[in-house]
């Protein structure tokens, strides 16, 4: 039975929700507003609506640093690490969901526990390894590192989606003569497409925003957009407006992608909640 909700209550709830949403979004809005002000105006409350907005920060930022190069690095690192992670995680999640052993639950928890380790704790060993392999400041190194960082989340997400798929369907595929490979390629993966898609989206976002490893393991060649933003953070001088412009440019692609894929993302994240 539907619960009766009075119009006043509904209006109140709506207002409260919008207020919370606005509060959460406010820092981003502020950043975007500041990016359209001159440096002098930027330290005062930013003015945009009085017609004094300017694009000079964007021009200056583009002159000072090559945005496209950072963007390209970000794309390669985020997409590359996600796809590599998915390729590794699908068989792993398959095994844990459909042929669980005695230790499967422990393995899952252990994988998650690696996320509890402070990243800085392993910074030195990883840096040394990369120096030894001559991979410091390369996209290859970052793709690998971010794959490792996000793999537990990818496996966990896929594992939960796969658990929703009835085992009988995979057994039917086996009876129908499918090899393990065909079973995964023709039956499991297509059935888990919504889950796989949202896993990919979420991980691209995570990898795109990852800043600890991208800042500590790159200097110039492999530097992604996080490094691009960081290069405008300076203890001296007036850089607020340029920093804001750089930030806006860095988050714009992922914001646009998130906007267009939000339906998919929500569907994937709530996949299986309602049968």
């Amino acid at each position: 039975m539907a619960r009766a909700v009075s119009p006043q209550r509904k209006a109140m709830t709506t207002i409260v929700v919008y207020l919370i949403a606005f509060t959460l979004f406010f820092p981003i809005l502020w950043t975007i507003l500041v990016s359209f002000n001159s440096e002098a105006q930027a330290i005062d409350p930013p003015r945009v609506l009085d017609g004094s907005w300017t694009l000079e920060n964007y021009t200056l930022v583009q002159e000072r640093s090559d945005y496209m190069r950072y963007l390209w690095n970000s794309v390669v690192i985020a997409v590359g690490s996600t796809l590599l992670g998915i390729v590794i995680a699908i068989p792993a999640a398959w095994a844990m969901a459909f042929v669980p052993g005695k230790r499967t639950k422990d393995v899952l928890l252990w994988m998650l526990s690696t996320k509890m380790l402070p990243a800085v704790g392993v910074l030195f060993p990883i840096r040394l390894v990369l120096i030894e392999l001559d991979l410091l400041d390369t996209k290859v190194a970052l793709v690998f590192i971010l794959t490792l960082i996000n793999l537990p989340i990818i496996v966990w997400m896929l594992y939960t989606y796969f658990k929703e798929i009835p085992g009988e369907i995979l057994e039917a595929a086996r009876m129908d003569g499918a090899t393990l490979r065909s079973e995964i390629v023709h039956v499991l993966t297509p059935m888990a497409v919504p889950g796989i898609a949202s896993t990919i989206l979420l991980n691209i976002i995570l990898a795109w925003n990852e800043s600890f490893w991208t800042l500590t393991l790159t200097t110039i060649d492999a530097a992604p957009l996080t490094a691009f933003i960081a290069s405008y953070s300076s203890p001296e001088g007036l850089f607020y407006a340029k920093l804001s412009a750089a930030s806006t440019m860095a988050i714009a692609p992922i914001l646009v992608m998130g906007w267009f894929s939000q339906k998919q993302l929500v569907r994937g994240l709530t996949f299986g909640a309602v049968k």
């Binding site: 369907i169 009876m175 003569g177 090899t179």
Partner: protein, 334 residues
Amino acid sequence: MGRITLNKVTKRFGDVEVIPPLDLEIEDGEFVVFVGPSGCGKSTLLRLIAGLEDVSSGRIDIDGSDATSVPPAKRGLAMVFQSYALYPHMSVRKNIAFPMKMAGVPQDEQARRIEGAAKALNLTDYLDRRPGQLSGGQRQRVAIGRAIVREPAAFLFDEPLSNLDAALRVGMRLEISELHKRLATTMVYVTHDQVEAMTMADKIVVLRAGNIEQVGSPLELYRTPRNLFVAGFIGSPRMNLIEGPEAARHEAHTIGVRPEHIAVSGTEGTWKGRIGVSEHLGSDTFFHVHDTGLAETLTVRAGGEVDLHHGDTVYLTPEADKIHRFDRKGLRIA
């Protein structure tokens, strides 16, 4: 061909022995039904034959060659599942084509067989739909179609009708029986419903706790149940079991009489009792008779239009040559 031989097959899950050593012979072209209460190991046995579970010990031969460690895909068997297990992302056509695609059957041959199966199963109009757009009965037919096109050595059915409503179940039961007559391929069918077992089987295997209690044709099991369990399980309503002096009079520990082998009279008979519940089915009437001093309730079948009601006193007379006798261990006395 589809001759399946189980030789001392066992199955353990951890420390629990689900199937103790078991021998069974399934002849080519036979319709064999595994029947038993839930948890009796009938589905496990089917899955062992399918290869979906590994045997703990023993040997399974299919058409004379050892298939014990052959993967399910290579055993040449087709299976129909209780949940239908159709591929939800594929059309009916692609579902049916899937096993042929896996086997590398040429396209034109695939199309020919799909058309044949669709025609036989009344699915021609639904070939381009997804399973989600079909009714339960249609889904089950797609699952059967997917099994037929493989031209398997044997069909395995795992309670295929339990998700259907009563009317559809009767219809599908007939369709599967007809299919068996037409294809003359071995079918192994698992069910907990003894009516399905009786109506469809050439040979019934009654299982309890992983043990085979009896193997035989439906009428053999009905006429000469080997023990009390089979006696109580086969036949509907259940056989009446009577212990005590009345059984001793027949030189047995327990005697059994089926409801249909007891005559009912309002005036005279061997046993006297009082009618509790009467179930009028039109064609038959079942009386549940109390206060006979033999057992708590005796169930008897009478004709469709008998004028006896709740509370009436009745007299019951068992047919002398239809009384089954069992010893203290529950085994049949010949």
